[in-house]
């Protein structure tokens, strides 16, 4: 990935690299998708399935699992604290980036994305299997608490960020940003009462960061999109959001790992929280 001049090129691996490391015991492949049954139809040999909703989120409160629950999840999949976890999935790696971001909440920093995701692997005619792998139980020491403060923004923090005029990136579609629609194009309504965007946010749809084959664009192209056109500055404190935090995880990954921004947070409450919150300020147009 060094030819694309990324700030942290080690955060990406190619499909070729993955194919050459299928039996590497230091590496665990994790598939994370929007299509709930896609993993069951066939996956990369040795890949385990982690579901954004049933595995990573609390099943009652809208929040994430506890560090102890995360450690249990990792151990079940043969992941230890020193395991390098490679994420890939459908939708140009939306949910792979979301799962990676969640792993970072729990302090697991040895994480990478397979560039191009599942679509690229399939397009290249690479092998898929339905065999579910079983690994020896990992040994995982849980953090005392999640590292939410570093990479996650909550409503009050985002509101203060907006009022201070600091950088906000809205990664939804232009129609959602302008408040013309309250759902993603091609998706059902997810229960939002108001349309628009957080005051001061710049519109940079997530898709601008990827090529047609779902791989990430080069550092030069990304700087043009996020800095020249959207007005971000290297080193700036940025909050990204979408509807429920998955597309903005993708942008969070781009800004953090590919462009090297040190203070990027994902507002995972996103528009399904903001657009329903009584009294939340909204801009339209």
């Amino acid at each position: 990935m060094s030819d694309k001049n990324y700030a942290h090129p080690d955060a990406l691996v190619s499909t070729e690299w993955v194919a050459a490391h299928l039996a590497d015991p230091r590496v665990r492949l994790v598939e994370s998708n929007e299509d709930i049954l896609l993993y069951d139809t066939g996956h990369i040999q040795g890949a385990v399935h982690i579901d954004w909703r049933s595995d990573l989120q609390d099943q009652t409160i809208r929040d994430y699992i506890t560090p102890v629950q995360f450690a249990t999840l990792c151990e079940r999949h043969g992941i230890s604290n020193d395991t390098t976890v490679i994420f890939y999935g459908d939708k140009s790696n939306w949910w792979a980036c979301y799962a990676l971001w969640c792993f970072r909440l729990f302090g697991h920093d040895k994480v990478k994305i397979m560039d191009g995701g599942r679509d690229k692997w399939v397009a290249e005619g690479r092998h898929l299997t339905k065999a579910v792998p079983h690994f020896n139980k990992g040994r995982y020491t849980a953090l005392a608490e999640r590292k939410d403060d570093e990479i996650r923004a909550l409503y009050d923090q985002t509101l203060a960020h907006s009022r201070d005029g600091r950088a906000l990136i809205d990664v939804r579609s232009p129609g959602e940003f302008r408040g013309e629609i309250t759902h993603m194009p091609e998706y059902p309504q997810e229960g939002v009462l108001r349309g628009g965007h957080i005051p001061g946010a710049a519109s940079v749809p997530w898709k601008m960061a990827v090529n047609d084959d779902s791989t990430f664009k080069s550092e030069t192209e990304l700087r043009r999109i996020y800095e020249t056109e959207a007005g971000l500055h290297a080193g700036e404190d940025v909050i990204a959001y979408c509807r429920i935090g998955e597309r903005s995880s993708h942008t969070w990954f781009v800004l953090t790992y590919l462009l090297g921004y040190k203070n990027v947070r994902n507002y995972d409450g996103s528009w399904t929280e903001w657009g329903n919150r009584v009294g939340a300020p909204i801009e339209r147009g």
């Binding site: 929007e34 709930i36 049954l37 069951d40 139809t41 091609e186 059902p188």
Partner: protein
């Protein structure tokens, strides 16, 4: 009122443990392409379109037989999710031979009984979409027949 063919499929799914239920859904999804129109088939109504809230194009083809029973063929774009593919095959099989009235009266609340409540999420609501489209085609066909 759920037709007998669909009731049998629902009963089968309800009897399965979760792992086998998933396997059956995958199996149905894999067979969805068998329900596409075949060479030489003629239909009474064809409705091929991509709705704003669906990820890809879906085509619904209706043939009403002389005995009044309906037969459906369905085409799905490549971006359609696995659950939706599975529901396509289930509905084509479970509603085969039903009258237009029976199809229009099928309630949508059977879906969680097949899919399982934890698989029906906001992002998976298109599992209901295929039934809605099938009913839509039947409704148009019925209206045209009434006014002919």
């Amino acid at each position: 009122m759920i037709p007998a063919g669909l009731t049998r499929i629902i009963g089968l799914f309800e009897s399965l443990p979760d792992a086998e239920k998933r396997e059956s859904l995958i199996s149905y999804a894999a067979s969805a392409s068998k329900h596409a129109p075949r060479d030489g088939e003629a239909f009474d109504l064809e409705d091929v379109r991509k709705d704003e809230e669906c990820t890809d194009t879906v085509g619904v083809f209706l043939k009403v037989r002389d005995d009044g029973g309906c037969a459906f063929r369905i085409t799905l774009g490549p971006q359609v999710q696995t659950l939706t593919k599975a529901m396509t095959a289930i509905l084509c099989k479970g509603l085969d031979g039903c009258t237009p009235e029976e199809i229009l009266n099928v309630p949508a609340d059977f879906v969680p009984r097949i899919v399982g409540a934890d698989l029906v999420r906001l992002r998976s609501q298109t599992v209901y979409y295929i039934l809605t489209r099938m009913k839509g085609v039947v409704r148009v066909w019925s209206n045209r027949r009434r006014t002919a």
